[in-house]
Amino acid sequence: MMLFSVIVTQAQVTSADSTTNEPMNTAQNILAGNGGKSITVAGYGEVHYNQQFNDTLSHNGKMDVHRVIMFLGYKFSDKTSFITELEFEHVKELYVEQAFLQHNLHENINFRTGLMLIPMGIVNEYHEPTTFNGVERPNVDSKIIPTTWREIGAGFSGKFPSASLRYQLYAVNGFLSYNGVGKIGGSSGYRSGRQKGAEAIFTTPNLSGKLDFYGLKGLKLGLSGYFGGTQSTAYNNLDKSDADAVAAADSSVINISMVGIDARYQNKGFKARGQFIYSNNDNSEAYNAYTGKDLGSSFVGYYIEASYDIMTLIDKESKMELNIFGRYENYDTHNSVLSMDRDLSYGRLDYTTGIGLKLANGAMLKADYQQFINIDPTTDAKHQINLGFGVWF
């Protein structure tokens, strides 16, 4: 079993050579490092080894540079910034995960527009690998919330420090549910419907918001909501007077109402977190008839997790952390169905237990064991060991 490493750097640099006043390109600015503050470079990365095993069958392991990400931010003024998150996934796939312009309108109000993260649950917004336990992200944050979920939109965010509240409210583009074929269903949930800001189809805006309360020491509570219809190519060049065609196109969209609550708590070496997500898919019956998909009429998923830094018991002066953790997940994309049989293989109970050794702030080695159980009693549980590391700088 092997672990790999990547090289990471951080710099805060200027956009102009302050000593010679010569024009500088971006690379020169970054390399100059001459004391300015306009450009910020940051990033994170994670390398994984996954090994599934059981008593009767052999399984190949998988080694993967899962993600290497660079953040590039440019500050035009004290109030106006542009932030990008550029990602290499599995070495060869390139994505822009965030690219938004933000302007501070008032002490408590920021305007934001561009490609941004949908604030739902914990990990979609805070997915840097040293911020969560386990080699892989929680499965609820993949199967129910299609992390990393991002779309183009615009809206407002800010905080009310006296009330210990942070808010976000955006109008964003929605999932693509149909482009000649159905895109969302029971197996992959909403994942294949993410448009990711890449020549995205837009027919109707969706509303996304989150409220976080952080007024009690060590505790953070979140309430998320996401509402709106999916996008469909069936409306393109549609004769609005053709009632049958309009009705057919209407069958290609789903009205999604997703709500989530999450909590994070920490007290010295002890940490706990959990989240609950429920999503209702209105019009799923017509959608399944139109597309041949097997979309459930509702999704549900939750997890609870506790961890303890045993280094606080071994060496109180240590700068390192050795976290042991356990997580229980329960999620189902066929929580309810209409006019079809429920597929029990979409209902899962996952147990994860493992350790994380924080070598330094921002660098963590991880190891865990996972058991995946289908609620279908005829299928066997799957077992997997994961090793890896995560860095964030």
């Binding site: 953040f71 910034s81 933000q102 914990i122 800010g158 420090p161 210990s164 952080y214 020491k217 700068k319």
Partner: protein
């Protein structure tokens, strides 16, 4: 040692001596904090401008208009130390008010420019610094509880307050205050 003194005498309801590099929201937050701490008292701040020679002797730089002596009704009430610290993509301004014995009276975030990490302005987080001094432990997650989702800014605040506490202790030891 050369100390250049600027004095402003204030009655509350009146703005404290302006910190020139700080924006108006930061100044307002200073005024509000002083009004709460020294209610119905006349407060004045005296800017301590540490000379270059003294800074060399101390072994660190002190930016102008960052260190102030605080008086309320002519009594010496402590010190106000201002600084900047990094958040994820920007910097924030913060203030530490020390008692005359150099224990921390209050920590306040004056201007937080970035959207993410603004949770550090929460009083439940900042109250944890009260009573600490140069000799205290400041380990995030052990002595000071952080806030999920604001890790970088929490760490930055802890490191910043620790740094200022060490510096003001050294300045006091060498008779620069």
């Amino acid at each position: 040692m050369k100390i250049f003194i600027l004095i402003s005498v204030l009655a509350f309801g009146v703005t404290l001596q302006d910190v020139p590099w700080l924006d108006k929201n930061g100044q307002k937050r200073i005024d509000k904090t002083f009004a709460k701490l020294w209610k119905d008292q006349n407060v004045k701040t005296v800017n301590l401008d540490i000379s270059i020679e003294d800074q060399k002797e101390l072994g660190f730089k002190i930016r102008k208009q960052t260190l102030y002596k605080v008086f309320a009704d002519a009594n010496h009430e402590g010190y106000m130390y201002l600084d900047k610290a990094p958040s994820k993509f920007d910097k924030f301004d913060y203030m530490v008010i020390y008692n005359p014995d150099l224990t921390i009276k209050v920590v306040k975030i004056l201007v937080y420019r970035e959207d993410q990490g603004g949770e550090i302005m929460s009083s439940s987080f900042l109250k944890q610094f009260k009573g600490k001094n140069h000799f205290s432990k400041f380990e995030l997650g052990k002595d000071i509880q952080g806030i999920s989702g604001a890790t970088i800014s929490c760490r930055s605040t802890v490191e910043g307050v620790k740094k200022l506490s060490k510096r003001i202790y050294k300045m006091n030891q060498l008779g620069k205050l």
